[in-house]
Amino acid sequence: MLELASLKGIIEALLFVANESLSLRKISEIVAVDEATAKKVIDELAAEYRGGNRGFQLREVAGGYRLFTHPGYASYVEKLVLSSDYRRVTQAALETLAIIAYKQPITKAEIGRIRGVNVDTVVNSLLEKELIKEVGRQNSPGQPILYGTSKAFLEALGLRSLDDLPPLKEFAPDERTRRRIERRLTSGPVESEE
């Protein structure tokens, strides 16, 4: 049996990394203690945070527990969020959306190859914003999910249909680039996912 002190540490670590609220059941499963004990530790943690002028709070939401920043410090957090580093998120989302719009249906791996980076997070956030959706599975090893744009995407850009997307030719700086882009866009789903 784990000591209460380390139990507190473990549960705090779990709440700290979680990207969603954690149910009591899930917590007690992972830590391998009964729910009553887990609940006791969680209550203690919450009380500690309240009393100790911490930067975050432990709240019970949607059938689980989750850490949130202390609302009293929201103005500082807003300054951080609005500072330049978060613009990268925007650029990544735009690029990824552009690739999906022009190359759909397309897999994450293929998007990653064009952007040169892992695109998991970005694709997930576009899915959440419902700008893109799953449109099927590629018939290749691992059957990766294929993505395409949604109706909400068309609306956001003020397009009647995908045919209204401007042809890329017009934007290519020179003939060579134009042919290259054409070649890459007509290639359709790639079969070998290196």
Partner: protein, 241 residues
């Protein structure tokens, strides 16, 4: 490294072969690299536990051999060739090279240990809480379809650069791009083509080399498939299904 080579002109430890060649006791032209590679692979398969130490050292020695061989095949000016050979890996140079490589191998072990230790630390990577996420500008609001198109064009061009501008390809006097178009046209017209058919009209070797690079590029892009029934046999090229 106790790997032994058996060739018509030489029989003995592999790195001795290199030593002999670098001292010009043996002519590199008499050494069939394909045969050495073949034998080596068979040897590796025989070893139950692959000794990485031996394998990576072999690679370095083999690479040096290949480099010398490749140099011998390139049409260089006579004097330049002499110089290359004398520059070619002397024993001391090879030792220095192996020692240098070892140093980085040791450093890699340290990096691995640090990565391992570090993998126990998980940073917080949770998404922004909704109240803060809402603050971020709606990235689509500021974008019109034309900007969208311009963005992807610059992206595509960026991606291509990485593919094309590797040192080997950019120095080609003949455009691989051109050859890619040429190959695609031929394939669309004829369905499939052999490498020989694609290169019959080449006036120079370098042109055939450009076509070969074009094939690799197209293959990488997933536009064509390649097959070769036997070693040194015809290379069949066809459009991807």
């Amino acid at each position: 490294m106790d790997y032994q080579v058996k060739l018509e002109v030489f029989e003995g430890p592999f790195d001795l072969l290199l030593t002999l060649i670098s001292r010009q006791k043996l002519d590199i032209c008499d050494i069939p690299i394909a045969k050495i590679t073949e034998e080596y692979l068979a040897y590796l398969q025989k070893m139950r536990d692959l000794d990485l130490e031996v394998a990576s050292e072999f690679l370095l020695v083999a690479a040096t051999l290949l480099e010398i061989k490749a140099q011998s095949l390139l049409p260089v000016e006579e004097e330049e060739w002499e110089e290359e050979i004398s520059l070619g890996e002397s024993r001391e140079a090879l030792i220095a090279r192996l020692l240098e490589y070892k140093k980085f191998k040791n450093a890699a072990i340290e990096l691995a240990a640090r990565l391992e230790a570090e993998s126990k630390f998980y940073p917080r990577e949770a998404d922004l809480e909704e109240r803060f996420a809402k603050l971020l500008p709606d990235f689509l609001k500021e974008v019109n379809p034309a900007e969208f198109a311009a963005l992807i064009v610059s992206l595509m061009a960026r991606g291509e650069k990485v593919l094309i501008e590797s040192e080997h390809i950019s120095s080609m006097p003949i455009g691989v791009d051109e050859k890619m178009d040429f190959v695609m046209k031929r394939l669309k017209k004829n369905g499939s083509q052999s490498f020989r058919e694609l290169t019959t009209k080449c006036k120079e070797k370098i042109e055939a080399a450009a076509i070969f690079l074009a094939l690799l590029e197209l293959y990488k892009m997933g536009l064509i498939s390649l097959s070769q029934a036997v070693v040194f046999g015809e290379i069949e090229v066809r459009l991807s299904a």
